[in-house]
Symmetry: D2
Subunit: 355 residues, 4 copies
C-alpha cells in the first residue's frame, strides 16, 4: 500500500476519513521559502465542503496544523508535515457499510485487500477527504511555481451533458462555481440540483492549463510529463480518464491536422497550434500544458441500490444515509490544480539536475 | 532521464533508434520460469514493422539476444537483459532533422533538453522502435500472468472515424489486422490507405481487457491500478489519453447509471455491470479490467510541413523523407498488451507481500 | 533531503528537535495486526532520556499519539502515522548556536545546506531526538518479526576502552544499563561518570544479533542484507562504522580461518561457525545475523571548544550549555534494534514476492 | 532481486559470470559529456585479473562495448548501456559446485533463494566479475567528478597483518600493487604469495579519500553520505565492514579528542582536524571524505573444505578447482573508487536540485 508520490519532491499522504487526523509529509522542499499561509488557506477553502448549495452540508474546518518543516512560516529544509484534525465525524452513519459495500465505492475492494480490520468508516483512507492533504502539498507547490513564473489553473469543462466551451483565458479560482461561462455554469448547477432532488448524482470533466512552464521539463518513456501528471491525477478518487492536448479527439484526426507546426515568434521557437497540449516525447515544448480529467458521478447516492451482505453472502439492498455531494466536480477543480502543480514542480526539480 | 518502470518488477529500457542495439533489463522475475521463446518471438512479430501493407516497408529482425538472467531459457533469478541489434539503419535520411525539428515529434524537445549532443537519428531514444524491448519485457509478463490464469488482450477500437463496436469476446492476436469486426477492420485499412496516398497519417484507439485478475490488486491513491497502468501506457510514444471502464463517457452519467451493483454469483461477489472497468478505489474488483488508449496520428508524414531552422532560427519548411508508417495503431496493439501486462504483473508481486 | 527508508515497508520520519511534534509514517504494514501498545511503550522507554544516572536530566514523555493507520490498536492497512509532541523545550539554550556551530555536530553542514532558514534549535531535524520515531516504527517491526519467530536484540559491546566480551546468549533489554557482563557494565558506567565530571563524553560500540531469520532474505549487490542494514543504521546520528560477522577483523584472516564450513544438523544445512555473521552474497544463511555499529563520543560537551562565528567569519570559542548526555551508547541500543528490525522486516516482505 | 543503485544517477548491473555478457545501464548522465575512452579502459585494466603475479592466471579482455547512450563517445542524454562479453569461461570447473556449496560463497544462499534454476557457474550474478560493469559506471563518474574538481583515490591499507600507515597524499593508481609504502606493499605481497603457496587466501582493508567535494552534499538520516557510500560499497562482494573518518577507533575516544574544531583558513570555514572523515550529520563539511572497507579473505581456496551435498543432504568435502585469486584486495581498490565515485556523483546531482 502506497500513498507516496514523486521522486524529487516526495509527498506521503496519511489518514482515514474518521481517524484522529489526516495529513501529508512533503520532502524535498527548498529551504528558506516563505509560505503564504493566507493564500494557502484560501486555496484549501476552494476544496472544502459546505461552501455552496451544491455540496454536502457538512462543515469541516480544513485548517492545517504544521508539525514540522518550518521555522515560523518559512521552510527550513526538513520534511514538512501538516495535519488536519478530524472533528466532525458521524460514524454511526457508516455502521451498515461495514458489511454492505456501496456500489461504485472502494468498500468491497478495501474489504478484499485489508480484510475485516480495514477502516470502513467514511471510506477510510479511500475517502475523498484525503484530497485535503493533497491540496496542502499542492497549494505549497503552486506558490513555489508562481515564484518561477508558472501558473496552474483549472475549470469545470463539463457536468453531465453541459459543456463549457468558452475559451479558458483567465483563472476562475475566485468563482464559487468555477466554470468560465456563467451561462454554462448556471446550467451545470441546474443539473446538479436536479440530480440531488432525484437522490442521484452527476459527473463531469475538469480541464487544467499550466502557463509559463519552460521547454525541457519531463523525460522520455515512463517519466514523461503525461506519465507524471496522470500518476498524480489518478490519485484523486473518482477519476476515470486523463487526456492531454486534443486527447481522445486526436485519434480521429490526420497527422496533417494534428501536427503543430514550429514557428519563430519574437526570436523564440513556438508552435503555431497546441494540439499536443504542450508536450512532445514526454517533454514540455514551452507552450501551455493542457490536461483534462474525467470524474465519474459520485457513487454515494441516496436512492436504494443493490448490493451484497458480506456476512451472509446474500443479495440485499442498501440505502446510503448521511450527507453526500451530488457532484464533486467543482470541488475537484483545486484538487486537479494541486495534483498538476505537484507533478510539474517535481519535474522542475528533476530538470535542475540536468543543467 | 528515466526509462525505468515498476517497483516489484523493474524494467529499464535503453537504446536509440540507430545506436548499436536497443534492449531491456528486467529485475524481479521469479527464478525457475521457463520462457516459451517461440511464443515470445510470435508476440514480438506482432509489433514488428513490415508485417502487412499498412506499415513501413522496413524489415527489422526483432530477434532478441539474451545476455543474462537465463540458464538455457529458464530464468535464474538474476536480472534479465535482452537486446536487439540495430542493423537496418539509413541515417542519411535523418541529416536534415538535426536542425529542422519534425512537427509532432520529440526532435525539438529533445534538442532543448539534451542539446546538440542528442542522438537525433531516427528519433533516438524517443523512437517508437523502443517499444520492441517493451514488448520483450511485456511478452515475458504475459507468460507469467498466463500461469496465474490471467490473460491480457487488446484490439483496435477505432481508426480515424471508423469505430469497431463489436463485443470483444476473444483474442484477435492471430489476425494480421487486429480488429474484432472484419468489416470494421476493412474500413479502417481503407482509411489508412487513403491517408498514405495523401502522404498523410491517421490515429486511433486501442482497447485492452484483462481477464482473470483476482480482486485485491492495486493500492489506494498514487499506486492504484489506474496510476500503474496509465504510467506504463503513457510510456508508449503517441499516446494522448488513457481511460478506464466507461472513461470519459462516465462524466456524462448519473450515479444511478454508472454504479455497478454488487451481486452474488456462484457464491462469489461480482458486479452486475462493469462500468468501472474492474477497478474501485484503485483496486481490482475481480471483474475484467478495461482500459483504452488514444493514439495520435503518426507525426512523420510525407507532405511538406512548416518548421524552423535551429541554426538560423528562421522559419522554413520540411519534407520528411524515409519510410514511415501511415498508422501505428495496429502495431501498437501488442505494445498496449505489453504495458498492461507489466503493470498487472508488478501489482501482482506487490499483492504477494500483503498475503 | 530525504528521511525515508525501505521499499516494501516504507517509513518517513519528520520533525525537528523543537518543532511542534516529531513523528513517523509507516506504509506497507499488514492489515489486521494488533499492536501491543504496552510493549511498544516499554520499548520506547528504553531509548528515552533521563532513565538513569548516565543520561541527560531532561524528562521527555515519549508517548506516541497515533493519527492514522489503526482501528483501535489494530492496523487497518492504511499508512500509519504516529507523532510525539515536543513539550520540554528550552530554545534559549541554543541561541548562540545559530551562528557558532558546535564541533562534531551538523550545525555547520546544516547551515551550508539549508542556509539561515534552517532550524538550528536543538539540532533541528539532525537531533538524536529523531530516533524516537525511528523506535516507534522499529518497535512495531519487532512485534511483527516476533510473530514470525524472529528476534532482534542488541547490547553495549564497548564504551571507551572497556569491552564486554561476555557471550551474548540472552536479551539484556530488561537491564537499565544493557551490558551483558555486570562487571563490564559497571566499568563502563565509571568511564561515563568520569567523562561527565570532566565535562567530556565517551563513545562505544553496539552489537546486535538477529535470531530466527530464515535463509534467503536479502539480494545480491546493492540490496544485500549488509546494504539494507547499514543504510538503516547509518540513519542513527553518531554512527561512524558498521560491520558484519567478524567485520574488520576478517581482513586479518586467511580464507581457511574465515570460511564457515557447511554441515548437516538435524536434517538442516548449517554453518559450523558463523564468521560471516549469517550473510553470504548479501543473503541470509539461516544462522544468526551479527552486526556492530561504532558510535562516536557525544559531540556536545561542556568544556570550551574552538569554533567560528558565521556572522563575522572569525575564530571564536564556544561553551555548549544545556543538558547533554555524556554518552548515548546505552540509549542507542534500542535504536540499533529498531533500525535492524526495520531492515529485516523490509527484506522479509521482499522475500514474500519471490515465493 | 535488485542490482540497481542511485536515485539521481541510476545504474543497473546485469550478467552472470558465465552468461553471454555482463553489463550496466546508467541513467541520469548529463548529455554532451565526452567520455575519455582510453582513460576509462586504463581504469578498467586496474581491476582486471591477470595483471600481476598476485592474481588469477585468467586473462579477460574487459573491453566494454557501448550499446546505447552515446553519439560517438559523447553522452547523448539517453540511458547508457555498456557490456563486456564473457569469452574465457571454463564451466566444467564448476559442475561439482552445483550441489556442493563453497564455504564463504553465495552458492548455498543463492540455491535457497533461487532454487535449482540459479546460475551457479562461476558464482553467477554473485561473481566478483560483476564489479567490471560497476567499474564502467564508476569510471565514467570519476571523469564527471574530475570536471568538478573532485578526485577519488583508494589504496590498500592493509593485507593480513601488514598495515600501510604511510600518509596517503597522492594517488597510487599507477602502481601495479597500489600500496603507498613500497616496503609495506612488498610485505603484503609476501603474505599473498605465502597464502597462495598454502592453497589459502588473505583479506585486507581498502582506504579511499575524496578530495574537492564541496560542503553540503548528502542529507540527514537515511540519505546521508555514509548511507549512500556504504550502500554502494557493500555492493562489492566480500566487504564485511565500512567505516568513515576514525571509524571504529572513534568509539574509544572522548568527545574532546574526536570533535574537529572549526577554524577560519583563507576566509573559509575548515576543520582543524578531520576525525569525522569529512561528514557531519550525513552532509559533507568540505574536507576530504575518508572511508575504509574491510574485505574478507577470498573464499575460493584450493585446500579441501567441509561442505554438504545438497542432493543427498549429507556431509561431504570439496576441493575447489579452477584458478582463483589468493587475494582480491588490490583488485578491489579501483572497485572502491568506482563505488564511492558513483555515490558522490549521485549526491552531487541531488544537491543541484536544492540550489
Amino acid at each position: 500500500m502506497s500513498s507516496t508520490y514523486g521522486e524529487n519532491l516526495r509527498l506521503t499522504i496519511f489518514g482515514q476519513s474518521h481517524s484522529p487526523a489526516i495529513g501529508v509529509t512533503v520532502e524535498g522542499l527548498p529551504a528558506g521559502f516563505p509560505i503564504d499561509m493566507a493564500a494557502l488557506q484560501a486555496f484549501l477553502d476552494r476544496r472544502a465542503p459546505g461552501r455552496d448549495k451544491n455540496s454536502t452540508s457538512r462543515r469541516e474546518a480544513d485548517a492545517p496544523e504544521f508539525l514540522s518543516g518550518l521555522t515560523g512560516s518559512v521552510t527550513c529544509g526538513a520534511p514538512l508535515t501538516a495535519i488536519i484534525r478530524n472533528t466532525n465525524t458521524r460514524s454511526g452513519d457508516y455502521d451498515e457499510l461495514q458489511y454492505k459495500p456501496r456500489p461504485g465505492h472502494a468498500d468491497y475492494t478495501g474489504y478484499v485487500k485489508y480484510g475485516p480490520s480495514r477502516d470502513y468508516a467514511g471510506g477510510g483512507h479511500f475517502s475523498g477527504r484525503l484530497t485535503a492533504p493533497l491540496c496542502i502539498a499542492g497549494g505549497i507547490c503552486l506558490q513555489l511555481l508562481a515564484r518561477e513564473g508558472i501558473t496552474v489553473r483549472a475549470r469545470i469543462r463539463s457536468i453531465a451533458d453541459v459543456t463549457d466551451d468558452a475559451p479558458f483565458t483567465e483563472s476562475v479560482a475566485h468563482k464559487p462555481f468555477p466554470a468560465v461561462s456563467d451561462e454554462a455554469g448556471e446550467a451545470m448547477q441546474q443539473r446538479i440540483a436536479a440530480a440531488k432532488e432525484s437522490l442521484d448524482s452527476v459527473g463531469g470533466i475538469v480541464e487544467c492549463i499550466v502557463d509559463g512552464a519552460p521547454a525541457g521539463l519531463g523525460d522520455p518513456m515512463f517519466d514523461g510529463m503525461e506519465n507524471r501528471i496522470a500518476s498524480a491525477i489518478f490519485g484523486i478518487p473518482a477519476v476515470r480518464g486523463v487526456e492531454f492536448g486534443l486527447g481522445f479527439e486526436a485519434a480521429k484526426l490526420r497527422g496533417s491536422q494534428h501536427n503543430d507546426p514550429f514557428r519563430m515568434e519574437d526570436g523564440k521557437v513556438v508552435t503555431a497550434t497546441n494540439h499536443c497540449g504542450g508536450i512532445l516525447g514526454g517533454i514540455t515544448t514551452g507552450q501551455p500544458l493542457i490536461v483534462r480529467a474525467a470524474f465519474k458521478p459520485t457513487p454515494s447516492i441516496g436512492m436504494e441500490q443493490d448490493t451484497v451482505d458480506l456476512r451472509t453472502m446474500e443479495n440485499t439492498t442498501l440505502t446510503v444515509r448521511g450527507r453526500h455531494d451530488p457532484c464533486i466536480v467543482h470541488r475537484a477543480v483545486p484538487c486537479v490544480e494541486a495534483a498538476v502543480a505537484i507533478a510539474v514542480y517535481d519535474a522542475l526539480l528533476q530538470r535542475k539536475k540536468e543543467m
